[in-house]
């Protein structure tokens, strides 16, 4: 089985992140707080509660080398948290937004972070030594709708975004004094801050969950119409592939290697996609215990369930709850998964372990070891 640990931390989790040594996990239990738990003697213990935001925390990222946490919230602010002694000390980052902040990610060098927002803008934030202050620079007037996802290219300059206008865009985030000339390579070689390198108009509906492959050669994002998009040769003449799949849409994706990706979303079970020798991507299978053979019959039962409800014949006798969890299909998660985070081992670009969290309040750790059919793609 691919799921090696399941932790029920809360009723609902909006996002989560791991400490650099992976001994602690930070998550938002669908409110204005961030809870940090540490594993001690096989038991998870709440060690910190970060309280500073006024509204739901929509994004958390924990930097691997500098051990800083950045949070973004619907209250339109971000905080950078530094551990001083045994206390997490927040520094307010004024994003200059008039709508909610929706997602946040540290750049690979951890000297910048990007915040996507409902104000149709992306904030690139960096530290100004002389003022002891995080400065936010905005990429405006490029998105026609909310920015749902941000992803940094390994070169620390290029940033990919997805938006509810259905488009995926790639920008240069070169900031004088923060980035050096030698880090500019490839298509970003002479682009200024905020310059749009590429706009991909593949999806007809909302786009979510953009990621770069470990080398930065491939870009992947998902559409709300049960499609996943793969883009090679990001630059003036990109090569795109659209892959349609038979189940509910995805919310986020993660490259585990150059040729394999895990997608999570409304279907409650992580899906594996992989590229063959010719580089053609396709759906491989679900992770977890769900049996593929039963996929035919499940629709029948689902429809009869729905008809049962329609005619007031409660088939299962229960369900007095107003809010019912989505069908679990025997998977580990019982509701939409909205966050997938790699558990990296130092020095290895292939991700063997990752964790997922979702609206069911669980954090699940998955392991790709001993998955014979998938090992070819790792």
């Amino acid at each position: 089985m691919a799921a090696i640990a399941v932790h029920q931390f809360a009723q609902c989790i909006t996002c989560h992140a791991w400490s650099p040594d992976q001994s602690m996990v930070a998550f938002c239990p669908n409110n204005n707080e961030v809870h940090i738990y540490r594993l001690s003697q096989d038991k998870w213990e709440k060690v910190h509660v970060l309280q500073k935001h006024d509204q739901i925390v929509s994004g958390i990222d924990w930097s691997a080398r500098s051990n800083r946490i950045v949070t973004a919230s619907h209250d339109r602010n971000s905080y950078v948290w530094n551990l001083e002694g045994s206390e997490w000390v927040p520094t307010l980052v004024i994003l200059r937004l008039n709508r909610a902040a929706l997602c946040v990610q540290w750049s690979p060098k951890e000297n910048k972070f990007a915040v996507g927002s409902g104000a149709k803008t992306v904030c690139i934030c960096y530290y100004e030594q002389e003022n002891n202050w995080w400065v936010s620079k905005l990429i405006r007037k490029r998105h026609d709708s909310s920015v749902t996802g941000v992803a940094w290219h390994p070169n620390n300059i290029l940033l990919a975004t997805t938006s509810t206008d259905g488009k995926c865009r790639v920008f240069s985030t070169f900031i004088k004094g923060v980035d050096t000339k030698d880090s500019r390579t490839g298509p970003s070689s002479d682009s200024k801050f905020g310059e749009q390198i590429l706009q991909l108009d593949l999806s007809l509906s909302w786009a979510f969950g953009v990621k770069w492959s470990p080398s930065g050669n491939t870009l992947a994002y998902v559409g709300h119409n049960s499609m996943i998009y793969f883009v090679d040769d990001v630059g003036p003449s990109p090569l795109a592939q659209n892959v349609a799949f038979r189940d509910l849409p995805l919310r986020d994706v993660l490259f585990v290697s150059e040729r394999m990706i895990v997608g999570v979303g409304f279907d409650c079970s992580p899906m594996v996609f992989a590229a063959d020798e010719r580089g053609i991507w396709s759906f491989v299978r679900f992770l977890g215990e769900r049996k593929m053979a039963s996929s035919g019959s499940k629709y029948g039962s689902q429809f009869s369930e729905a008809f049962g409800k329609l005619y007031g014949q409660s088939k299962h006798g229960v369900s007095t709850d107003a809010v019912e969890p989505s069908r679990s299909r025997g998977g580990v998660h019982e509701n939409c998964i909205n966050c997938i985070v790699p558990l990296r081992q130092p020095g290895i670009s292939t991700v063997m372990r990752f964790s997922t969290s979702g609206l069911d309040g669980k954090v699940v750790v998955w392991d790709l070891e001993n998955q014979a059919d998938l090992s070819d793609y790792l």
Partner: protein, 135 residues
């Protein structure tokens, strides 16, 4: 989505109607040769993209409806129909269901059940999200 533009104006509508008439004749001849799958494929191809002209839409629907109603063996149809047609077929099935006409709805529901079994809920989502093909 309004920014995508390119909606067909009335002077273009005549050209579309001509194309639909041509398609209709082709479908009739395929049906006469008892090739309902070929007829449906022809019907699903070349739906008028991005048109707001109701006349075009309903003329096209009459043709597709004719092909859908000619289907007897749904399983056989779906196994010989390429997967790329599933999404657009689903969209036409919902158009059929919206007519409220009893025999049409019966037929559409029958195909809908088999198509969902085969193409999944993802197919329904794509047909809902499709803004290119006007049906």
């Amino acid at each position: 989505m309004a920014a995508t533009g390119g909606f067909v104006e009335t002077d273009n509508a005549e050209a579309i109607i001509t194309r639909i008439e041509h398609k209709s004749r082709k479908i009739e001849s395929l049906l006469k040769q008892s090739k309902p799958v070929e007829a449906l494929k022809t019907a699903l191809e070349g739906s008028p993209p991005m048109t707001r002209d109701e006349r075009c839409k309903s003329a096209n629907w009459i043709v597709v409806h004719r092909a859908i109603m000619a289907i007897k063996d749904v399983d056989g149809l779906l196994s010989s129909l390429d997967a790329e047609y599933y999404d657009i077929l689903m969209k036409y099935l919902y158009r059929g269901l919206s007519t409220g006409d009893r025999p049409t709805c019966d037929q559409c529901l029958r195909i809908h059940e088999k198509l969902t079994e085969r193409a999944g809920l993802g197919c329904i989502l794509r047909s809902l999200a499709d803004t290119v093909n006007a049906v």
